[in-house]
Symmetry: C2
Subunit: 356 residues, 2 copies
């Protein structure tokens, strides 16, 4: 599933570092893209604002200008990470959730692959992709609060549509088809949510039937979300492509990340039919922000995943190889992987390998 | 938090094995209770029906008679496990979810403690309690489906009330107060669900203020649910008592169970203000049902947890000690713990230790 590259004379990339370590790792990802510029059309980067810090300064976490620039001038984007207030703050709303919806980036694709040679990974080798529906479920944020004689009552709506479930199902089958094991596992909780998760499950299961035999060689399994998390820890090798509604996808991708040793190496793209945004799966990590020790790998890999999605396979391959060759000897690792290297040491090493 | 035992001349226990391995492990739990009868008032057991098999025979998964007998004749109950159809079946609804609501068993308490000496546990030692709200969240099962011009759309309501969040918060603080670390971690996703999870979070946080200094020595922390699952894998020792809305509690208790090596050893109680029901955290395990190899430990421990909750401390202690002394040498383990022992071998050994 990659977009046609042929028509592009230049590639304009929006950069939205947002908060915390996002500001340290997005520059590393940009540098990695620049390092493979010989494989790419003319590059243009546009710095864009979003996040908690932007909110505290301007009163909005996602300025209109950011969205407009992305829509009108950019081919793709890289997003860092956001800090969120733990209490409800009037006017504040998560910019990443909003961006996914605004740009209809309906597929959140998160490959989770064990870090070769790392001492941090526990248990067996993991090689799976979480395909997370990215626009609905409880993320529609349709909530209300009422005061009753027994106190406050809050309600949220969980939305699952046939249309969104079908299109995310297609992405999962498409990815599975290209992998050796060709297995799609549908994650749901239809023993409790028989209507909403029932619809998700049925819609994904219905994909092969309407795809003209294209996915006949793909096996379909399913797993209740609680059991999926349990089995992820115990026997991750039973999974290949996991497809899930939004919230379950959020949780299982973090669970899978824990298995490979660090969120700091897990990339993702938020993909729609005509836009793609790379995003490290980790958060803004306020505890280490500003110290120069954040792992740049998740962001650099997100850049590669984004380029691959856009059809720039050789550029993506070069970046991925340099990352893997940096991690494999387990000599230059940031503290999240129990090493002592800095963000810039790891980034420079990756860049050096690309240029060789 | 235990109920007064003084007024009880007899103890009537409803037994609801339900489906699959529930039918093999609930008898083991009953035998364990009988083995400590010298510590208990006169015992009476009543066999009750529920589950998928009951549904296929009678058209209802939870016969009225079962609920009525529990309410009118029983002091407590033991529930096994249910098999659920993966598709929506007209008239079928999960009997365990219904029982929790019917009997207002609002606190699902799940202690997760590493199995001493087991080769199965991965990583560090775990000793925590998941306190799961048991009556609301998406489990209110208020769902609907409409047909639109773009296909089917399904919606579910997620309900969070101040009343239910406060009462589950009290249980968490009460449990934490009695533990050495005295730590409550609130699990939520208020960066997305600021209204519903915001209310849960605020209500739990407000408990100490209205409890007259009772919980002043308890520390409060919080963790987003995705991050909680990640950290559970990576550093479970940071958790002591985790309190969560229903669905997150479902998922994190399975995640914690994976860490100790098997769901087969994790007990729970569903507790209300005047009824308590023990229940192993594992499911009906259709793959091993009928083979006589299910781990009886989760059910036996659930019986002990139920007796402890009812105030029968010495009875509970005796059972727990016999279980721990059976597991510790790691010689008599069922296949889920990578052993070769049968349900009855493990049960008999536990019984033998109690009687010594
Ligand atoms: C920051 C937060 C809103 C976000 C999410 O829940 O989607 C994050 O956890 C993620 O996984 O990208
Ligand atoms: C069987 C199912 C309805 C149940 C739940 O989700 O509560 C189970 O997973 C549990 O944890 O007790």
């Amino acid at each position: 599933r990659s977009m046609a590259t042929s028509s592009r004379k230049s590639l304009t990339i929006g950069l939205i570092p947002a908060d915390g370590i996002g500001r340290e790792v997005i520059p590393a990802a940009r540098d990695a893209i620049i390092a493979v510029k010989s494989e790419l059309p003319e590059l243009k980067f546009i710095d864009l604002l979003a996040g908690w810090e932007t909110f505290t300064r301007t009163g909005t976490a996602l300025p209109r200008e950011t969205v407009q620039t992305l829509k009108e001038q950019c081919d793709c984007a890289l997003f860092g990470s956001v800090s969120s207030p733990s209490r409800k703050v009037a006017g504040y709303s998560s910019p990443i959730v909003a961006l996914r919806k605004e740009l209809d980036l309906y597929a959140n694709i998160r490959p989770v692959v064990s870090v070769q040679g790392s001492a941090v990974a526990q248990g067996p080798t993991v090689d799976l992709i979480v395909v997370r529906e990215n626009t609905e479920c409880l993320y529609v944020k349709d909530e209300n609060l009422i005061q009753t004689e027994n106190g406050k009552e809050a309600r949220a709506t969980r939305l699952i549509t046939e249309r969104a479930s079908t299109r995310i199902g297609k992405i999962a089958f498409e990815l599975a088809k290209a992998r050796p094991r060709k297995l799609v596992t549908i994650i749901h909780k239809s023993n409790v949510l028989s209507v909403t998760d029932g619809l998700f499950r049925e819609s994904v299961r219905a994909v092969p039937a309407v795809s003209g035999g294209k996915y006949d060689d793909v096996t379909i399994e399913e797993q209740l979300v609680d059991s999926a998390v349990y089995r992820l820890f115990r026997e991750p090798q039973i999974f290949d492509v996991m497809v899930a509604p939004n919230l379950y996808g959020d949780i299982i991708s973090d669970a899978a990340a824990a298995l490979v040793g660090s969120l700091g190496v897990i990339p993702s793209i938020n993909a729609g039919d005509d836009f793609v945004m790379g995003e490290p799966v980790h958060g803004s990590a306020p505890d280490i922000a500003g110290k120069g020790i954040a792992n740049p790998v998740a962001s650099i890999r997100s850049a590669a995943l984004m380029l691959r999605h856009l059809g720039y396979t050789s550029a993506a391959d070069k970046i991925d190889k340099a990352v893997n060759d940096t991690l494999a000897p387990a000599k230059l690792l940031t503290p999240d992987l129990r090493g002592t290297a800095s963000t810039s040491q790891v980034t420079d090493h990756i860049m050096g390998l690309i240029e060789k």
